[in-house]
Subunit: 128 residues, 2 copies
């Protein structure tokens, strides 16, 4: 399989697939013409990586998850810890964003949004 086929199957752009090879997440074989040749195992790995990225795991986390996935002797505890740490970061981010959301909602509601210069949003940003 060529890169564009894999791209269609996994939903990952060709650029991203090449990038993943670049940083050592996959090692597809090469044809005599230099083209990458993807076996099923490569596609499977890429799909795995795509799903992990969708869940927000960092590339380094993905690397670790792949290694654990391929390690038959792994402890599920290691996987769980990684996921929990990631979850905690997500929880934190959501809280931050919700705090911004609350403030912004309030300010937007207060602002007339007309052609006059008076603006509670700017007043809030400029407060001492």
């Amino acid at each position: 399989m060529n890169i564009s086929d894999v791209s269609k199957r996994t939903g990952l752009p060709p650029k991203t697939i090449r990038y993943y090879e670049d940083i050592g997440l996959i090692r597809p074989a090469r044809d005599t013409n230099g083209y990458r040749v993807f076996q099923h195992a490569d596609t499977h790995k890429l799909a795995f990586l795509g799903r992990a990225r969708t869940l927000g795991f960092s590339i380094e986390d993905c690397r670790t998850l792949m290694a654990l996935y391929e390690d038959q002797e792994r402890n599920s505890g290691d996987v769980k810890r990684l996921a929990q740490e990631h979850l905690a970061r997500i929880d934190e981010k959501i809280e931050q964003l919700q705090s911004m959301q609350a403030t912004l909602r309030h300010l937007v509601r207060e602002c007339a949004g007309d052609n006059r210069p008076d603006c509670p949003i700017l007043r809030d940003l400029a407060q001492d």
Copy 2:
């Protein structure tokens, strides 16, 4: 005032303040020795920028907000639109993160997290 004083007052690191000058958000005066000299107006601007950044506005949004703030002829509608667009992006991000959160919470709950290799998290990532 020197940069470290302004840093203490605004909570912005000196590096960030220099960066903001670099990209033209502020134009502090210079002493004969080359040191930046911050007037009250500069500090005020930096505080404004710091608060806008805290609300998650991009640097380019901050630039626009500053311009609107300094424009006595502005329409509050322009400010409101900017804030609403930003708010919409935040809403979207929160939704994305909440979806990840839900999936991860579920997976983490399912995973024994012991010294055995069996792991629902990896099974989920590896599913076809």
